[in-house]
Amino acid sequence: MSGLIGTSVPRRDALAKVTGAARYAEDLVVEGAWFGLTVRSTEARARLLGIDRDPAFDWSRAVVVTAADIPGENVVHLIEDDQPALVADEIRHHAEAVVLVAAPDPATARAARAAIRLRTEPLAPVLDLLAAEAAFARYEIAKGDLGAGFAEADLIVEGAYRVGHQEHVYIEPQAMVAVPEADGGITVTGSLQCPYYVHAALARALALDPARVRVVQAETGGGFGGKEEYPSMLACHAALLARAAGRPVRMTYDRHEDIAATTKRHPAVVRHRTGVTSDGRLVAQDIEVIMDAGAYATLSPVVLSRGALHATGPYRCPNVRVRARAVRTNTPPNGAFRGFGAPQTELAAEVHLARIAEALEVPAAELRRRLAYREGDVTATGQVLRHSVAAIDVLERAEEASDFVAERARTARARESRLLDAARAGTGSRGLHPGAERIASGVGLALGWHGAGFTGSGEKALASRAAIELAGDGRIRVLTAQTEIGQGAATVLPQIAADVLGVPAESVEPAPLDTALIPNSGPTVASRTTMVVGGLVADAARDLRAQVEARAGGPFVDNYRQDALTHGPTRVDARFEGYPGIEWDQEHYRGDAYPAYSWAAAVAFVDVDLDSGQVAVQRVVAVDEVGRVVNPLLAAGQVEGGTLQAVGYATIEEMGVVDGRYRNDRLATYLVPTALDAPAIEAHLLEVPFPDAPHGAKGLGELPMDVGAPAVIDAIHDATGAWVTELPATPARVLAAIRALEEDRHGEPVDEGVP
């Protein structure tokens, strides 16, 4: 080991990105490429009766593709294969792709699109997740005896929590270029997270021998899960048009189309009923999780699974039932998004735990310390947490770093004096300080956990392969399917290899993301890249080093160039075999749900305008325990970015659905935090190495997303005394919660409509 683990090796992609040299899909010059566009549904549900082409348009100037023109199966291959590449008979959601057109220039393509009419007959849509009956997936997790647990309880606390959609707002919208090859095959280059998902989808829809399908990742401007499933759809579209046109076709969404048509984070309703003893033990947790999958399954079954598995929060309880379902509605499909179902259920778990503490009249931090998992504890699926359990560590570090106890005392005093003032001023003026604004500050805490890698037997089933290659010219390359999407994969994987080989980080390169070159090391999702694939890379590097050193009889670093010249290239492949002792029973939802968990706590500081309900998040202290930290600077970047995304989710990111259509389908109306809205974020990384990974790393990418929002909601409660149980906590919702509380307190009616 050359001691590279734990050093902030600079990002390999940084220079090209900041100088503008990086080539995104839209920057690629493809000789003779046509421009492809999509004709989309304008109804939430309808029967497609016909597709009419305006005879006034000269159709020799464009190509048109409908479902009837698909050579293979009309599916976007993923889990259920229920989603068509193009609607054949029933439109199931707004903005669904029905017809594709391509033309030599954008203006002609737009004219062709405008010359197509969809003849439809409306059908009754299902728009409300609570009214939806059909489900794509249902799970039940059971532990102990729920009835006995409730019988033992001194107190039962109930709560219902609701969250809306969240849009990824990756900086680069979806884009793809398809080039037909002379042998009848197809090469697709674009903005994507998971090259082999795209590869499988293309082979299926185009009925091609997989060997004739080539997928290349262009420089990709972010993903956050939003480029996990949708690029398969867009790649199929571009490829279908390219086949029809007999030439390359480029498809690039603008922001509006990207928001209107692509996946979002699942809206959800989570209900908790919890039995608690007066000495502060949880004796029964009955949890219901309902996620809105939208019109097609996409990844909803696995998103729901992760949501259900994290729904209890990281707390000891002998009797648990979690019932979860992902229902079908006539809204655009929801899919992968950083956290993958866990942010929804962990928000509910954390806010609910704080309400339990309130009911018990104990500080929530104290209750968390008492209940949080420690080594040897058993989760709801019966998993014994054997190693690297750091719930208490992150909790305590977050409290220290934020001076939580003292800050809470300060906000409590301020709350007291406000109440006194209000009493003195009488009810009429609602406690206005003469001449002063009522700005209340609050401090909130949340604790969370995140299973790293695929759920259950997922990693075993994937059987990922990664490779390292010492080329004949002495260059060393790491070959994986892990895409650089801004998170640092292209830096960290070579860094891990270089550490094992004992060479400088720059001496190892990532191979180009091209399915003609790279083995399938699985998708770049689920916080698995550094942990799982990083582990494979470390294994392969160890083997390569041993081979070269055996031949040379000396250290790798001094001998590999000569070895390459004399011996020729050496390639070592490593295949994932499973972590020791991990057993999962998918049928009964029992066993080891994840090989390891990462742990996080966040403390949020907010100012709430008590009269307008506006919330300003001023500061977040984020503590994340992720096993060995491979690259501290990149890791801190993940914590900061994930925390900001969580703050946006908690406060201003609101999509809204009207008649099955996204209401805020532009960045003018769908707000994300800007530099002006961003709190000061302090990232702290803790390390409790994962013993079963060669380099000790666990997952990180999604983790900060789980705790930011509940910390903000807890802080709003600390400031106002009111619980906001629906995300985002818009000013109107915060004000309504404050008003309801003041009404309670004064026993007087609210004197005006509360939204």
Partner: protein
Amino acid sequence: MNRLRPFVFHQPTTLDEAVRILAAERGAARPLAGGTDLVVDMKLGRARPPVVVNLKRIRGLDRIEPVDGGTRIGALVRIAAIQASAIVRERYPALWRASCTLATPPIRNLATIGGNLGRGSPAGDMAPPLIVHGALVEVEGPGGRRTVPIQDLHLGPGITCLAPGEVITAVVLPAPPPHGGSAFRKLGKRGGGWDIALVGAAAGLVLGGDGAIADARIALASVAPTPFRARAAEAALRGRPPSEEHFARAAGIAAEEARPISDVRASAAYRRSLARVLVLRTLRDAAGLALDAAVPR
């Protein structure tokens, strides 16, 4: 990508020429100033003018200058220039405040006061302070020049009283009253305050020799089809001392008079709540300045 549809583009260098072109097109032509509204609308297809007349080549419309004790602000004066103006900052605090929170610096560097009024948006930030300051709008058209009191400019959402061919050339603010104070505030969906207003409020107070409120003006954005003057609330303040109690009452009356709607940005009920909060706060701010001004020096 949204693209502009083809249009005929004129770049007159005199006001007469601009008026002539605009009048000849009978409403089919739109004047262009900073373009921060018009170009966005054209890209989204909400506006499809076949003819666009750029006003920015016309000289003399971008000055802030004293007139008869008051101040004349040319229609092409950019919001950033209003923000930078010492005259505005000292004499017209409500307008100055509004110029500081209109959008972001890049937008303020392009956006003009004439465009803000010409747009006729009930959410625009310039109208409420101008109402409070008692501004007159100078208009030049085929029939010559006329002046319109600012509160008569707007007829409905996106509709002004300007006839085809008429352009705004300036707003004229009278001298600020002695012993007066004014203020502006807005709240948007973001905490930062630089967002389009969910509600914007301007208030002006003038104190009489007896210390009571001699005159009050309250104007609101985004709570009615046009910039809204809360006359009942104003009346409730006249003759009263500038006190928290009366401000709170007036704020409640203003919120009741307002006629907000629910839209993508906020519900009517929430807008009403905000109207009350903002009127109360601007009255306090304005009273603070008026009381300072009333202190003999």
